[in-house]
């Protein structure tokens, strides 16, 4: 029998990088085939080629034994390929059924959109595979897990035989991931082929039959899931042994430096996103906030850094209650911020590295007089930071946009740490970074903690939270549903808390 998918010598070049270098692989019908690799290894590019979004510079694609020429999404859909993208391809303002039928609409009387037929079909498909969705709900009102379900229904609605899932668990809780795996298994039973892209080795070992490892655009090997293990895959993926633990010195928390009392913060839609939370933070400690995306993390970070007004409650820094809430005010109080999206919120991309290293501090006497910038000081400062943080290439005059993601994040971290803040708010500090850069950022955060600073860490990666935090607070529905010490917590328990299936009473602030 022919393979479901056969890729022969696929090559794709982007300006400056070879995203896929001569990749050949076969996927059998009815198997769950995983592709793992670090960010930038070329996984997504390869799948976008298979799905017809990109045209390969060289190579051939066969679907069920038939060669594909002039591939396009439309053609891929016809051939039975469906793709669930890492960043959902859903239109927030549209309803679930509008999103699902788009491009394959039902029409009555020649031109009219047949909404009833669309609703029925969506219901039928979703029931067939046990993926309940409400066709009339607007996508922007759905939680991420359900949005992903909509994506899967969308693909199945188009009669997909081969499903590509691009990093599907990145945004899910452990429990939601279990549900997803259940769905994948039932899809497999009904004869569908699933291609599963991930960089989480544990998950891949659990769900996949076979695992392909990509590194720097090259295929490093294909392993049978039953005959391999995490260490072996990691070595293929990174090219060296990976340390799974960050060395962390004993904790020695001291005085409380930040106190938050009954904080209420409004979300974008005018309803409270954070509903009366209280917590405290001490020097020499990292407080991690775990939780599924969209449970008030963004609003909390924005309030702590002065980007969003506080509706009710108090923020007390070093014993003084905050009365003004603007980023420049908070910075003066000793709060620094590593934002979650470095390209969008952390850096002015067309600026040089040097000019990015002192944004926000430009009015300090070191960087400027009353009117003019002090060029000499700026140059020596940036030269020193570039060396200290090993920002490559070692040239502070380069436009920051031309740096790799890891080096861009180093610029942000260097700037924020150079404030010598009392409180460092780090929001998803390693999102999209490769293993090396992630290790670097983790080391820096621990270093800050050990130097006596208080760190607030917000992350959707449970591993990261568990690895770095001294204490872990779990956010669910805008409330803290549990606050635990890092030693006593298990992943399962955090998962239950994150889904709101369990909650603890609030702990009091220590005297």
């Amino acid at each position: 029998m022919a393979y479901a998918v056969e890729l022969k010598n696929i090559k794709k070049v982007f300006p400056g990088t070879v995203a896929n270098d001569n990749i050949s692989l076969e996927v059998e019908q009815g198997e769950v085939f995983a592709i793992v690799g670090e960010n930038g290894a070329g996984k997504t590019t390869l799948m976008n080629i298979l799905y017809g979004l990109y045209e390969p510079d060289a190579g051939e694609i066969y679907i069920f034994g038939k060669k594909v020429e002039n591939n396009s999404p439309r053609k891929a859909i016809k051939l039975g390929i469906g793709m669930v993208h890492q960043h959902f391809m859903l239109i927030p303002k549209f309803t679930v059924y509008e999103n699902i039928v788009l491009g394959e609409e039902f029409v009555k009387n020649g031109i009219l959109l047949d909404r009833n037929k669309a609703r029925e079909e969506v219901k039928r498909v979703s029931q067939l595979y046990g993926l309940e969705v409400d066709p009339d709900e607007k996508v922007e009102n759905l939680p991420v897990g359900i949005q992903q379900r909509v994506e899967v229904v969308k693909v199945l609605f188009r009669g997909a035989e081969i499903l590509i899932l691009d990093e599907p668990t990145a945004v899910l809780t452990p429990q939601e991931t279990k549900d997803l795996f259940k769905t994948i298994r039932s899809l497999k039973e009904s004869g569908k082929t699933v291609i599963f892209i991930s960089h989480k080795l544990k998950e891949v070992l659990e769900i996949a039959d076979r695992i392909a490892v990509l590194k720097n655009g090259k295929l490093k090997g294909i392993e049978n899931a039953r005959e391999t293990d995490e260490r072996k895959l990691a070595r293929l993926m990174v090219g060296r042994d990976v340390i799974f633990e960050v060395p962390k010195r004993e904790k020695k928390p001291q005085d409380v430096i930040l106190e938050v009392k009954n904080l209420v913060i409004m979300g974008d839609k005018g309803i409270p996103a954070v509903k009366g939370i209280s917590f405290y933070l001490r020097k020499y400690e990292i407080l991690g906030f775990a939780g599924v995306e969209g449970n008030g993390q963004r609003e909390l970070v924005e309030a702590l850094t002065g980007l969003r007004p506080v509706k009710e409650g108090k923020i007390i820094i070093k014993g003084k209650e905050l009365t003004e809430f603007d980023p420049w005010v908070l910075r003066r109080q000793g709060v620094a911020h590593i934002p979650e999206d470095r390209r969008d919120r952390g850096l002015v991309l067309p600026f040089s590295v040097s000019h990015n290293l002192f944004i926000g501090r430009q009015r300090e006497g070191f960087f400027s007089g009353r009117l003019f910038l002090r060029k000499d000081n700026i140059d020596s400062f940036s030269k020193q930071k570039v060396e200290e943080y090993d920002i490559r290439p070692h040239n502070p005059e380069l436009v920051v946009d031309s740096l790799s993601g890891g080096n861009q994040q180093k610029v942000v971290v260097a700037r924020e740490v150079s404030y010598e803040p009392d409180i460092l708010v780090a929001s998803q500090p390693t999102r999209g970074l490769d293993v090396g850069a992630t290790e670097f950022v983790h080391e820096k955060l621990i270093e800050q903690r050990d130097a006596g600073r208080a760190v607030v860490l917000i992350s959707f990666e449970l591993d990261e939270i568990m690895r770095l935090s001294d204490r872990i607070a779990v956010l669910y529905g805008g409330e803290i549903v549990g606050e635990l010490s890092a030693e006593e917590v298990t992943e399962e328990e955090l998962g239950l808390l994150m889904l709101g299936l369990k909650r603890y009473e609030k702990r009091e602030v220590p005297a």
């Binding site: 070049v13 070879v18 850094t305 980007l307 969008d344 002015v348 067309p350 430009q362 009015r363």
Partner: protein, 383 residues
């Protein structure tokens, strides 16, 4: 909260952000202007005219027929005066662009500046060295505030500045020309029975006098040059310029890092308004002498094209403005063969079209170049 409306200006900011300085920054405008002339020539041919004759007239109109003769000085002066006025509105638009705002309101700020200059020029009568700076300061403050109002609405209420500045244009035009100039500040209030429409003439001490007797060229050229140097230093050297650029290139990152982006936008827009206002003042104190009955030379709108063709920088805008100042002065001469002086707009419009496409064109060039380069690297790797 305070998020911008993701409308018109989003595009231009992204476009501006995606630029990196390179040689083509200078080549693209020149090529664009060249295409402007070519397309305009085709239009002349299509309507049965000789473009060669047309352009000869345009050139003579701009620079005179031979060096050193009487007409040459007069004509060249005309181009420089126009260029100076264009420079100021062009810089206005450029400063706003650099903070991420689209100042379609330069025209309104220009008119506000003109009427304030007409009023102060009429009221103040000290010596020119005190009179004129005082008038310009007054104009800068009023026009600056008029423009800053639009930025303030954007910062505080999230109202798109494209719409507010358009509205403020019409408000300025109507209040000035249909009320102030015909009503409280009409010439007939001071000289009953005057046959002129518009406001009375400003005092002699308020006039920017011609520098050479044979030409209308006046000190507005120096004012424009000072403004160019001011804007250049602002962006190259000053803290405020740094804040303006950071805000314009990524308002979110600037704010996250602790720059007061709202205040920066309002200040930048104030500077923009002041520049447009001074431009209007230069015309009133220089060539016009008073606010005429109807006064809409369109230099505010032209400022947009000057800034765009000049790549939104001080020097580029200056040269684009001088160039089109000459084109405009020269185009008047084309009237001789029945071509209206707005012919300059055709060249300007087409040139701007090419400027608009430059990212696309440049990107294509870049992509082809990169592909070749990477292709070669890959091949050599294999060997």
């Amino acid at each position: 909260m305070k998020e911008d409306i993701a409308h018109s200006t989003g595009g231009i900011i992204n476009w501006w952000n995606s630029r990196k300085e390179s040689l083509s920054d200078y080549i693209v405008p020149i090529i664009s202007i060249l295409f402007g002339f070519i397309v305009a020539a085709i239009l002349m041919i299509a309507t049965g005219q000789n473009p060669l004759a047309g352009y000869t007239l345009l050139f003579r109109g701009a620079f005179g027929s031979s060096w050193g003769d009487f007409i040459t000085l007069k004509q060249a002066g005309e181009g420089l005066v126009k260029g100076a006025v264009l420079t100021l509105t062009g810089l206005s638009v450029a400063v706003a662009f650099n903070v991420g705002l689209f100042n379609i309101g330069a025209e309104g700020q220009f008119i506000v500046g003109a009427i304030v200059a007409a009023y102060l020029g009429f009221k103040l009568n000290i010596t020119p060295w005190i009179n004129i700076p005082l008038i310009l300061i007054g104009v800068a403050i009023v026009s600056g505030l008029y423009a800053a109002f639009a930025a303030w609405l954007k910062v505080k209420r999230g109202v798109n500045e494209v719409i507010t500045t358009i509205m403020l244009n019409w408000i300025a035009i109507n209040l000035v020309e249909n009320w102030i100039v015909v009503g409280p500040f009409n010439i007939r209030n001071y000289q009953p029975g005057a046959l002129l429409a518009g406001t009375p003439y400003v005092k002699e001490t308020s006039r920017l006098k011609p520098l050479i007797a044979t030409s209308r060229l006046n000190a507005s050229l120096f004012i424009a040059i000072i403004a160019v140097i001011f804007v250049y230093i602002l962006f190259k050297r000053t803290v405020l310029g740094y804040e303006i650029l950071a805000t314009g290139k990524n308002p979110r990152a600037a704010r996250y890092a602790g720059i007061n982006t709202g205040r920066t936008m309002i200040i930048a827009m104030f500077i923009a308004g002041a520049l447009s206002g001074i431009s209007g003042a230069c015309m009133i104190l220089g060539t016009e002498g008073r606010y005429p009955g109807v006064f809409r030379p369109g230099y505010g709108f032209d400022g947009i094209t000057m800034s765009l063709i000049g790549g939104n920088g001080a020097i580029g805008t200056f040269f684009a403005s001088l160039f089109f100042g000459f084109v405009r002065a020269g185009a008047t001469n084309m009237q001789l063969i029945g071509i209206h002086k707005t012919f300059a707009d055709i060249i300007q419009g087409v040139a701007t079209l090419f400027v608009a496409s430059q990212i696309g064109v440049r990107y294509l060039i870049l992509k082809i170049g990169e592909r070749r380069k990477v292709g070669r690297e890959v091949e050599s790797e294999r060997i």
